[in-house]
Amino acid sequence: LLPMLAALAAGAAEARATSEGQLPGAAAMGTGTPPSPSGTAFEETRLHVFTLDYPHVQIPFEITLWILLASLAKIGFHLYHKLPSIVPESCLLILVGLLLGGIIFGAEEKSPPVMNSDVFFLYLLPPIVLDAGYFMPTRLFFENFGTIFWYAVVGTLWNAIGIGISLYGICQISAFGLTDITLLQNLLFGSLISAVDPVAVLAVFENIHVNEQLYILVFGESLLNDAITVVLYNLFKSFCQMRTIKVIDIFAGIANFFIVGIGGVLIGILLGFVAAFTTRFTHKIRVIEPLFVFLYSYLSYITAEMFHLSGIMAITACAMTMNKYVEENVSQKSYTTIKYFMKMLSSVSETLIFIFMGVSTVGKNHEWNWAFVSFTLLFCLIWRALGVFVLTQIINVFRTIPLTFKDQFIIAYGGLRGAICFSLVFLLPPAVFPRKKLFITAVIVVIFFTVFIQGITIRPLVEFLDVKRSNKKQPAVSEEIYNRFFDHVKTGIEDVCGHWGHNFWRDKFKKFDNKYLRRLLIRENQPKSSIVSLYKKLEIKHAIEMAESGMISKVPSSGSLSEYHEGKIKPLSPTEMENMREILTKNLYQIRHRTMSYNRHSLAADANEKQAKEILIRRRHSLRESLRKTNSLSRERPVLAFIFFFI
């Protein structure tokens, strides 16, 4: 804050607006400088040794300060290591925002800048969704797709209409002074407050590490319900402004839903394929490879927004499509860059969103009505719980692994509201909604309740209920083998009993993928097995470590345990050596890294190094034993032999 205050003071004391004389308006952050008296044309001004020209840099300066503040706040939280585990970061950030808002309000005696909905929807939300979509465990997502879709669409509809109608019932009671709020307005309010928010869900769930299935259900729901929210919001908003509503409008609404959802996904998939295709040709200009990933995904988002389709679904679809193919086309360094940059962007966005929510809360935008606010909160909780319970009973019939009561509780409890409903409520046109301030207050109360109370208590509840936690082990080679083996067994049995299961579709897609898509989109297409990739990765990683520590020269090659023929190795020329080094590094770049579970703050941890080391140490031991007996190696050969192994 100090730099900002210093700028204010300096600006007030000394400002001699040079150049354009652009006066800063009561603009974004409210730090105006008083206009300076400009001299007449004939008065000469002497040469200035030192000038301060704040207006020139105002906007970028303030944006940088905000982001810096947000990041410093984050550092501050993690200094006390116990704090993030008790209180989720989102709460702390909102508190910081409240503090800031309070300071600005106190200093300026007017409401601090409200978070601009455009800024939120166009700049702050996409990075978070992109990050989540890119690292989404696709297999788990598609296995549970039916359930997720069911919760997202039917659940949100249920919530929206339920909350809307019950609130309307409350409004009819004249004692509360709410009779001027119509049914449509209530329904609109219900639709915008029933949307589970992906930002809030991510912020809270990443710390509690529930099992992947639960996580994917809640998080998937928060992503997919964007389609329904967009449709309902626009539908009811238009209805509020229309004088008569015909039946045809309702059918138009239903058709709109399909267009919004499917259209968004199609745009995302299309641009995902284009991105994958582009990266096929970028091997000469590796430096800008990461840029394509970000550009294409952002493009999918804003294209969808342009058509009023679901931007969230577009960018998620784009990221999920792109992921597989881009991974194999770009260099290892580009891949790392993409991952880190994505995490950084999403982290900053999330921080800014929560701080802004805090700042925007302070001020004169509120109208308090005990009945409306408390009943809103009550109905949100009741309808969510009821909805999850009823829907689960129905969907459990179709699931092979039914959802237990514990799962249902966590799903219901994890339905957090966040910045999306916050922004949507600010977008309401005040002409049509005279009681807009009341809505704003109610939304803020609900958001604060879900983020603070539910966010803080969900961790002890998860432990109390003994919900299954996620398995943090990294894949070992044998596990990969078992999983693969098991998949084939299951597919085989399904074929034997003539059953079209999930595996059938997955296998069909894989065949199609291998035959057409991979050939088209991947530069050097060698059908790879994930077992081999993982294994090579472990081996090569260890090999590099060994080479770097200089141990290689003492160690014989690690070829196959039992078969080792002297005849295989021959002295190699320098060009051949160069070729081998090339091939070795190329193998490095093609390694596919699987991320197991989503974590905002870190990328997947390194493979189990101890295990890899153990494997190779044993092997070397046994080889050393066998070679000591045969004694058939000279000094120089081991290095070449080792490299030769990798070809």
Partner: protein
């Protein structure tokens, strides 16, 4: 046990009461389709399933149906042909868990399923998965990929065996030899993974008019 055309097929004890008669009917129809209306199935009958061709471990899957250890008989070895009851017995390894199972039942359930998988690895029926058997499995798994040499498959299998050794036996002395993975070791390795939730096939959604040559 004879299975006549129209009568209700007998239900083996380990299936009741969890499998409905409707599911049994489905499976019976499939069995008749595979056996071409005979009372038993032989290995050759499995050739008529087109999709199974592309499965790299096809041989092991078919073998599992005739493996006497899976058919609940004390004896060992391979049966030449199986009847409907045996067919159902194999299918029972793939039934889903129910909500009302207690801990002990779940544990037994899980062990049964893992034993089925173990028998698929252990092809010579000696109760251990040796290095050679493991190599064989990995080679089969990777056989769909023509670019891979045998060397890679072998080294992968070797690496995996090492891992198994380190998990099951811990630190080994330089002269110790690891015999093979026993069933207890196998259980240990699958400890973190919920096999009982994954190893199931929904018998209800069956396309009994599925393709057969």
């Amino acid at each position: 046990l004879e299975v006549s055309q129209g009568a209700q097929p007998p239900i083996p004890s380990l299936l009741s009461p969890t499998v409905t008669s409707e599911q049994i009917e489905h499976l019976h129809r499939r069995f008749k389709q595979l056996s071409q209306d005979q009372l038993t199935i032989r290995k050759e009958n499995f050739d008529s399933i087109p999709d199974l061709e592309f499965n790299p471990i096809r041989g092991k899957i078919v073998h599992a149906f005739f493996d006497k250890r899976n058919l609940r008989q004390e004896s060992d070895g391979l049966a030449d042909e199986i009847n409907f009851e045996d067919f159902l017995t194999i299918m029972s390894y793939f039934r889903p868990i129910e909500m009302n199972m207690d801990e002990e039942q779940l544990d037994r359930f899980r062990k049964e399923k893992l034993k089925f998988l173990f028998h698929m690895y252990d092809s010579d029926h000696d109760g251990k998965i040796t290095l050679q058997e493991y190599r064989n499995v990995v080679e089969e798994l990777l056989s769909g990929n023509p670019h891979l040499e045998k060397e890679s498959a072998r080294s992968i299998a070797d690496g995996a065996m090492m891992e198994a050794a380190s998990i099951c036996v811990g630190q080994m002395g330089p002269d110790q030899v690891y015999e093979g993975i026993t069933f207890e070791d196998f259980l240990k390795m699958w400890q973190g993974i919920d096999i009982e939730t994954k190893m199931h096939v929904r018998f209800l959604n069956m396309e009994t008019i599925a393709h057969c040559y």
